[in-house]
Symmetry: none
Subunit: 228 residues, 4 copies
DNA sequence: TATGAATGAGTGTTCATTCAT
DNA sequence: AATGAATGAACACTCATTCAT
């Protein structure tokens, strides 16, 4: 039994190694520019070996994105305790984002990179899909927004599905833009500050008229600016 | 006299044909996936002929994007008369967008496609660039926002540059997403409705607290839904 | 009659123009690198027009080489008066070369360029060809060498055909090498000095043993060094 | 142990195969006319496979030339024992050439082909270059000539550098010309006889006046004429 | 006569994928 | 399980040549 287990574990490790290497390369070069040779070289394996673990380049990339997305969802759902108000949950979402980003910037970039590819598909405009991270996130946000409407905090006229998609799109956009900046020059506080402002505007735009705006302020970057 | 003119016109038409075919393919497959061979096949020309009109793939694509961007800018600037209030200009911008989109959906998609490539560059986070359409649009929006702040209509705390970029990013995102939908299934009213809602939320988020929200309503799709 | 004549003359002029342009380009870029487009551009004609005068690139180049070779042959034969001794003729050949080279360096380069292509063919080793310049030159030299043997000046053991080919080959080689040097840096006196030395060594090698070497001295560059 | 060795050897053989095929094609068609496709076809491999062994066409060709040149240099230097007179060394050079040519005609052709490309460069007229075969050969010859002058055997008035270059040029020329002859028709004795005569003439031309010419006779083709 | 426009057949090079070992 | 070796299909780009006008 020990042996098969070890084999299983080693197999998983190899797979994780390949995904990690591929992920780093995607962040470095962009999806289109990464070749199987690059990945093989980085993982110190042969190209053929990669095909032992992934049936094609496309599916390898898909799995990478899926994983990063799931990690993010897991992180968020762990924090979401029942009984929170919509506004508390929105703020929690924001804080989770901040923390996760501070902790694992690259993973976040990959995750939103993933989302973007789904947003671009038909799903964004109605045809919804399976159990994939972007969709889960979309549902999560939508539920919060609906709860907020029910609580009388958000404008009843908003379309929760649409607003949910819009928020995700915006996050994706900014993160992706950040990813294009060379890693060493990337100052994450810019990214998070940018996002914070947009998120606040969006919140102000969806709350009921007359709602006290001071209650919509979000916390800023939680980590000290380690650069500059 | 007639002959040279006709030749000239035909030459222009060929060039336009190539750009149109290339544009459609970009919308269909994405920039990276389109090959010169694809374009040639679609235009029913030989690859070599394409090179008679454009010195390289890169410059062909650049010209396509530039043209669509410039067309949009021209359209807008023609409508912008001096003496308008910031809110009037914002609405005018919206109506121009609607009209232009109704008139030349593909062109709009290409234009925002173009913008996106610039947004992804460093410019999005501050380093600004030359006389290219996305930048002109960015400046235009920023000026309006600043004027709105001065008029006491928009929140003085907003960062006009950042909000300008956010608005452009959102438009790009939605348009681009729409572009991925197979043409026949694309219902433009979804696209414009989506955008209208987002634009309204954004406006509500940036006006001063207490500003009468009923003044922020935008007109909807101006053309009848020609599909379905 | 006047009209057809003028037409004829103009046709000849066009042809000459094309050949001149092509010739210059060959000298500048090397045979392989010159394209029909280059020639057309230089001659300020269309590519198609060139095909009106020459049926193919290959035949155009052939004609260029032929012409330059014939010019050289004509120049030499004009000077060769009967009754000269072999040694006098050898010196005359040398002087003609010097003069021609001084007068029309480019043409000489093209001519030997031409010769080289023939030397490389089977002809060099026996299978002789028609009335082409390299062959005429070969025969000319061979005749002189044979006369020299008959006069008792040259070693009877030499093979006139072979020595003739060797001399031509050497001239070609040096000229061609000179042609590769950028035109402005080309100091022809180096070329001619080099050639003079080799020619003298060759002469010393083919005269009978004991022949007074002081009689084999050749004149040097006849033109002042116009550069440097 | 056997396996890795065999793999190594097979890899070397493939590389050698490609170089041999490319070499033959160069001899057949000339450097400029040989395409990677031609080589692949001849080697019965795919174009992509060639790129497994050589990073580019240019480097493949460079390696071919370098190898043949180095082989020749190695062969010669192995035979050159110290204490030989200049004349002995000249004869040794000649014999080495003969033997090498008899043994590996193609290689010799390629080698001189290589040399030619260097002779055509500025080096031929003074600007000398690194450690490349043609230059090594040039220096070797020049040293011998200088030694001969010091021994009082060669004319003090000769320019050793220039004569060295001339000899190399001549060898190159003849060999290259031979290469153009279709292989089956190529009679190597013609080539070597031709060369022998020229080499003898050259020697007679550079020895001091009055030197006993019978001492300058070279041995002829050392192998029986295997053709005709 | 002259040419602008067009193209087929090529170039060198890359890369995801396969397979014998 | 792992891989070195191989390759087909693709890529952007070039050029000698043709042809309708």
């Amino acid at each position: 039994m020990g042996i098969t287990e070890r084999k299983e574990r080693e197999k998983g490790e190899r797979k994780a190694l390949i995904m990690r290497c591929a992920g780093e390369l995607i962040l470095e070069l962009g999806v289109e520019k990464v070749s199987m040779m690059d990945i093989a070289r980085k993982a110190e394996l042969s190209k053929a070996t990669i095909y032992l673990y992934f049936p094609s380049k496309e599916l390898l990339f898909e799995e990478i994105c899926l994983k990063s997305g799931n990690d993010f969802i897991d992180y968020i759902q762990e924090k979401m305790t029942p009984g929170l108000s919509a506004l508390e949950m929105m703020k929690l979402l924001w804080v989770s984002y901040l923390e996760m980003f501070g902790e694992s910037e690259d993973m976040m970039i990959l995750m939103f990179n993933n989302i973007r590819s789904y947003l671009e598909s038909a799903f964004f405009f109605g045809k919804e899909k399976e159990n994939i991270p972007p969709y889960i996130l979309y549902v999560l946000l939508k539920d919060i927004l609906e709860q907020g409407v029910a609580e009388g905090v958000f404008e009843p006229s908003i379309n929760p599905g649409m607003v949910s998609r819009t928020i995700i799109a915006l996050f994706s956009y900014i993160i992706e833009s950040a990813a294009r900046i060379p890693k060493e020059a990337r100052k994450s506080h810019v990214t998070t500050d940018e996002m914070k402002n947009i998120f606040e505007i969006m919140l102000r735009g969806i709350v009921r008229e007359g709602f006290d705006r001071s209650r919509l302020t979000l916390p800023g970057s939680i980590r000290p600016n380690h650069e500059e």
